[in-house]
């Protein structure tokens, strides 16, 4: 699920950036530092949408670095148990398949894949129904439901299922569905 929230961060700026466009430098550094990171509490920070305020800088003794407290608005993505996501399959093996929904890695184990889909080894390992009409392979897009999340300080990992109504492949490059 996506959220638009305000976060705060202390930015350290090198003295060489002091000048007319110091503020721009600060914001671009913030984006570089923050976007794409993950915190267990808020989830993945997808994008910074704006800077609310930049506090008074504090010059560090000895280094000359200046610390600015910066409040910024950002979009975060946080997966929840029970949430339905669309994801792209990245890897298929006999234990199940891995998929990515944006920054989040999701594993669907084979017992959470519908019973009528069987694993086919080969050049392109995949799960296929007996009539071949539905196939899950690398690059397939699937809709899945998250049934478990593991949230570490800097990492979020999910397991999902496609064994439920309306879950499964939503567009298969190999076939029209």
């Amino acid at each position: 699920m996506f959220f638009h929230i305000v976060l705060e961060r202390n930015m350290q700026l090198h003295p060489r950036h002091f000048g007319r466009d110091m503020k721009d430098k600060l914001v671009s550094k913030l984006m570089k530092d923050v976007e794409g990171t993950c915190s267990g509490r808020h989830g993945f920070i997808v994008a910074i949408t704006g800077v609310e305020s930049i506090g008074k800088g504090l010059i560090r003794d000895g280094t000359g670095f200046v610390t600015f407290p910066v409040k910024y608005q950002c979009v975060v993505f946080r997966p929840f148990k029970g949430e339905i996501l669309e994801a792209v399959v990245t890897m298929v093996n006999k234990m199940g398949f891995f998929a990515e929904a944006g920054p989040v890695q999701i594993f669907v184990s084979n017992h959470l894949i519908p019973d009528d889909m069987e694993f086919q080894t080969g050049d392109m390992p995949n799960y296929t129904t007996s009539d071949g009409s539905v196939r899950i392979q690398k690059e397939s897009e699937v809709r899945l439901k998250i049934i478990g999340t593991r949230v570490d300080a800097t990492e979020i990992f999910c397991i999902g299922t496609i064994k439920d109504d309306f879950l499964g492949v939503i567009s298969d490059p190999g076939s029209t569905s």
Binding site: K94, S109, H111, D115, F119, I147, R150
Partner: protein
């Protein structure tokens, strides 16, 4: 109290459904064959449905199983939250209180009071079904069973687990990212690099190979089968649960509360409707320990009843009266001594009377008991006739005595006898209740005779009672 029958049925059903093949294995009971005690659990639960609070020793005696075995089973049931237990140190007095409570509350239970006399501050354990908890426990159990099966069936909310066959380390699907190896498509153990295998569901099909789709389909069928079977076989139980749902749940309270209540109820039931209550209260001030002995004094209460000129049926008073009995007995003897026809039985009768009472309590009249009672009845009848003759005379004497305030001591011996006489009557009266059920004809006739007797004595005995009370208060 709420009707207990549906709940008892619930307990019985649950016992048969869940505890039928339960065995209690002692730690040292390693030899098989001999120690097959399956079914004991069901028997014990059934027995408990017919009782309220029961001393475990008595229960063991009734069921004819060893106390140790019983305790083990009871402990198990306690853990299962089916029963509540209470342990306390007590001497024979406590036991008596309990016994009287049992007698009051449970018809048809034979209380083994044989053991009473030997008790010296032993720790006694009591147990009792806890109906409200049983109701919840059974429901919860069913819910868990169903949930487990259903979950496994649709593999919902189940996180696949993987196990390393070589080092037995376990992983869940959440660890999957760390387990994939770049070289092949298996999961590898982090510590020993062995190939992990998915742990198959515990419930279904160990015999099926894991990871096989066909197997999972079969497993699904099997689970479905199991679920439907379960629902079908537990239907009676669930039905009973539904039936019981809106009924008020019978509560016995804890042991002490129950004893007090049972005794009180008994007193209320047995006590005289009106007249006695006053005197009862007066004497109830006496410490509770006397309660236990009340039975003996029941005879006295009978005497009181007469005094009140209540209906003959007052036989009930037995339990209520006891407290007074002890004290009053003394007074009465003083006052009444003259009237008593010499009844040698009296003293001996008292203990037997208590037994009688117990017998009465047990609703189920054994044949033996009946015979016993019949004998008593005959004896009472005979005694009664004699008494009636004597009483007319004695009443007059008594009045004289009362008026003249004669010193008590001279009369002591005679008074005891007098008490005995009353005792007999009492027993007789109390016996009547039961007899009315069993042999109706006898009961009716006796009661009438009794009435006559009572009426005759009534005036005199009333006076006596009043005087007695006064004396005691003074003392």
């Amino acid at each position: 109290m709420a009707s207990i029958e549906p709940f008892n049925r619930l307990v019985k059903l649950a016992a048969r459904a869940f505890y039928d093949d339960m065995t209690t294995k002692g730690e040292n009971q390693t030899k098989v064959g001999r120690s097959d005690n399956r079914g004991t659990a069901v028997v014990i639960l059934d027995a408990l449905t017919r009782r309220q609070w029961v001393r475990e020793e008595d229960l063991a005696k009734d069921l004819k199983i060893h106390t140790k075995q019983l305790r083990r089973t009871l402990r198990f049931f306690e853990e299962e939250k089916l029963i509540t237990r209470d342990h306390r140190k007590e001497n024979s007095k406590g036991a008596k209180i309990y016994n009287s409570a049992v007698a009051a509350a449970v018809d048809g239970q034979r209380n083994g009071r044989e053991g009473d006399d030997k008790l010296k501050m032993h720790t006694q354990s009591y147990c009792c079904l806890d109906y409200s908890q049983i109701y919840d426990v059974v429901r919860y159990r069913l819910h868990r069973m169903k949930k487990k099966l259903k979950d496994e069936m649709d593999s919902k909310n189940t996180v696949q687990e993987y196990i390393c066959p070589s080092c037995n380390k376990r992983y869940t699907a959440l660890d999957a990212l760390r387990l994939i190896s770049p070289y092949d498509e298996d999961f590898h153990c982090e510590s020993c690099n062995g190939v992990l295998v998915a742990e198959s569901d515990k419930l279904a099909a160990q015999e099926m190979g894991d990871g096989d789709d066909n197997a999972s389909r079969r497993r699904h069928d099997k689970l479905k089968d199991m679920l439907s079977k379960m629902e079908e076989q537990l239907k009676p139980l669930t039905d009973q649960l539904g039936r019981v749902k809106d009924l008020p749940i019978p509560e016995f309270g804890n042991l002490q509360a129950w004893e007090v209540r049972a005794n009180a109820a008994n007193r209320a039931a047995n006590g005289d409707p009106n007249g006695d209550s006053k005197s009862l209260h007066g004497f109830n001030g006496t410490p509770m320990p006397y309660l236990g002995e009340t039975k003996v004094e029941v005879a006295f209460s009978g005497a009181d009843d007469k005094g009140d000129v209540k209906s003959v049926n007052t036989s009930t008073p037995m339990k209520v009266l006891p407290p007074w009995m002890i004290r009053e007995g003394m007074n009465l003897t003083k006052e009444q001594r003259g009237e008593a026809g010499a009844d040698p039985k009296i003293d001996g009768a008292a203990p037997s009377a208590s037994d009688l009472l117990d017998d009465k309590k047990s609703a189920i009249v054994n044949d033996e008991e009946k015979i016993f009672q019949d004998e008593y009845v005959k004896a009472y009848y005979a005694a009664l006739l004699n008494r009636q003759h004597e009483q007319v005379e004695t009443v007059k004497k008594e009045e004289d005595f009362l008026n003249t305030a004669i010193t008590n001591e001279a009369y002591d011996t005679s008074t005891q006898r007098q008490v005995g006489m009353k005792f007999k009557r009492e027993d007789y009266g109390s016996g009547e209740d039961e007899w009315e059920e069993a042999p109706p004809a006898g009961g009716g006739s006796t009661s009438e005779q009794f009435k006559v007797d009572l009426n005759v004595e009534a005036a005199a005995s009333e006076e006596e009672d009043d005087e007695d009370e006064n004396d005691w208060e003074d003392g």
